[in-house]
Amino acid sequence: MHFSIPSRSADQTTLPGSPSFKAKSRASSHHAVYPLYIFTQLRSVIRDALTSAQNVTAPEKKRQSARRTLSMWAIAVFAAVTVFLTIMYVLFANIATSDSAGPRVVLVLGLDNGKYKEDYLAKIIENRREYADAHKYGLYVRNMSDFKGSVHDAAKLGWYKLPLMRSAMQDNPGSTYFWYLDQNAIIMNPNLNIESHITDVKRLNSLVLRDVPVVPPDSTIRTYRHVPADRMKFIISQDHEGFQTGSFILKNGEYAWYVLDAWFDKLYQEYKFQKAEKSSLEHLAQWHPTVLSKMAIIPQRIFNAYPNGVGDSLYQDGDFVASLAGCDTPERSCVREFERLWDNRGRVVN
């Protein structure tokens, strides 16, 4: 057995002896010196690498300077690309995000131009416009007859407000709150701001009626007690009979589209509820907790007071909105009641 680095010739060693002896000796010699062989090779490679720095020959120098120039160019190109991309991002990112803005609140008004005269409707539009302009809100005005094709129960006017709201939301995708106010209502105190008066979380939390029956006076299903106000997306009030759908606020989003579409379903319209869309909403709120859990019921006087109401619903001076709901019956006259209120309305104080 020898301990030097075995070379190729070792394999062809012509040692005499039986085959088993030859095989054994070759195998064991490999086993013994192979790790040693690797170690010595590695050591020589490392030593060469270390000494190369000192023994720089002329071609080595040229190669090194070429490498240096190349690396400088690479760094320069990389820096230029980075600067260019940063400039592009700064310039164009702003343009992309400013696209989805819009007024934060949109007033939605549907006009029944079949039954009422032009000057009456013009006054109502003026009332809304004065309010919207004062607070920089949007105003969305359509004729109710535009939606005649999609309503199945065309006799009841109450159904038309639902596709109207849906249309308003589709046309104003950047806005957050949509306030539907009936045509026969008048904003008496335009100095009140929707956010601070109703929708701000703290204010809404103080207004929400918890644990009240959904259908007064004593329905089994009552409003939730512990749902926080920041989750509420549907703000509405009740009068002594049930939901008062002449004035409600919806927050734009998945929930609003779901409620409006489900509320407007063909089968609800064909069921011929007693009070059309009011009863339909009461049904939805009692049978489907996904609807009720995000509904906030607030006192009626906040945005839907009755001038001829009783108790809590009676309009008083300084209230936000006076509603003429139910004025299109033979005993009453919408135009006359409107004129009386129109003269007494508050104006915007700058």
Binding site: P19, R26, S167, E254, W257, Y258, D261, D265, K266
Partner: protein, 340 residues
């Protein structure tokens, strides 16, 4: 001296020459491997892969604490033997179906929720009768809070190609695999356009259409707020009272009604070509025989077969066995499979 050893090892005889070569073989093999190290390593890796692949054993172990993004909901015990007797063929069909889904779920690391659909009513028109699918989905979503997609499978289904994962079959190219409107394929003649539909809405429900409308035998539903709304509004007493006489397929018809009328639902629903997750056997949709969109195609190796309606007039057990045998023969691998 001519004793046995000398005779065997002396170089003269042919036996001894063969024997000596044989005795040198392991040593020569070892030397060859050492000399051609890289090649032998490659061959060893290939050999291991072949063995592992052919045996169906998972290469990487699944971590026991990881819960899957996908849950398969398998509806078993339909009826629970209340209205009809469950004989040995019904039990056999159930066993085969469950074993098939369990093997599939284990192979791909999905969770399997086996839900009991026995009838719990005593009178007709009892509360939410036949809308149990909706309640079961809601219950399963509560049981698997981390999962995102839930794949509902009826009992009479068979996964024919267990090597294909859901990601590969449906989700990797979701936009290409699904279609969002009824322009091309509208077997029920539902309204093609309704106002206020948003086509950029994320997909929350993937439903196949068969020859008679939506088919809820094999569909996918995603956990989201939209799904909470759907599962809540799916059963409504006013809808039920007016339509339960006409709605033979119960929640399927209710969904078709809502799809025709409510834009928010249309925005979140996508359709998938039937043969991707819900191919039919020849017996179902028999008036549409030959339609390439509906029936199971063995040459194209369709993924799942749904033997819909086999309990009315057809032989569920026979069909299940038929498809089980086809699947087994298709899965048999030849030795050159890893190199294909």
């Amino acid at each position: 001296m001519k004793d046995k050893d000398d005779y065997l090892y002396s170089p003269a005889s042919r036996t001894s020459r063969v024997l000596s070569r044989l005795r040198r073989l392991p040593t020569r093999l070892r030397q060859l491997m050492l000399r051609r190290r890289i090649l032998s390593l490659i061959l060893f890796v290939v050999l291991c892969c072949t063995i592992v692949a052919n045996s169906g054993v998972r290469l990487l172990p699944r971590m026991p604490w990881a819960s899957s993004k996908f849950v398969i909901i398998l509806a078993v015990n339909q009826g629970g033997g209340v209205m009809e007797w469950k004989g040995p063929t019904e039990w056999a069909v159930e066993r085969t179906s469950i074993a098939n889904k369990r093997a599939y779920a284990d192979r791909h690391g999905y969770d399997l929720a086996i839900q009991d659909m026995s009838i719990k009513k005593r009178y007709a028109h009892e509360w939410r009768e036949s809308w149990e699918k909706v309640d079961v989905i809601r219950q399963t979503m509560k049981q698997y809070p981390k999962a995102e997609w839930f794949w509902w499978l009826d009992l009479h289904t068979y996964i024919m190609e267990p090597s294909i994962s859901l990601e590969k079959q449906v989700f990797n190219r979701l936009e290409n695999n699904t279609y969002r409107n009824l322009e091309d394929y509208n077997p029920l003649k539902l309204p093609v356009e309704i106002p206020f539909v948003d086509n950029t809405h994320p997909i929350n429900l993937i439903v196949p259409q068969d020859c008679g409308g939506f088919n809820l035998g094999s569909f996918l539903i995603r956990r989201s707020e939209w799904t909470d709304f759907l599962l809540d509004i799916w059963w409504d007493p006013v809808f039920y009272e007016q339509r339960h006489m006409q709605w033979e397929h119960k929640e399927q018809d209710a969904l078709e009604h809502m799809y025709s009328n409510q834009a928010w639902l249309r925005s979140g629903t996508a359709f998938i070509p039937q043969r991707l997750i819900n191919a039919f056997p020849e017996g179902a949709c028999s008036e549409w025989r030959g339609d390439k969109r509906i029936f199971y195609n063995q040459d194209e190796r369709d993924f799942v077969v749904n033997m819909a309606g086999c309990e009315w007039g057809r032989d569920c057990f026979g069909e299940m066995e038929h498809f089980r045998k086809i699947s087994a023969s298709l899965q048999k691998k030849s030795w050159w499979w890893p190199f294909k």
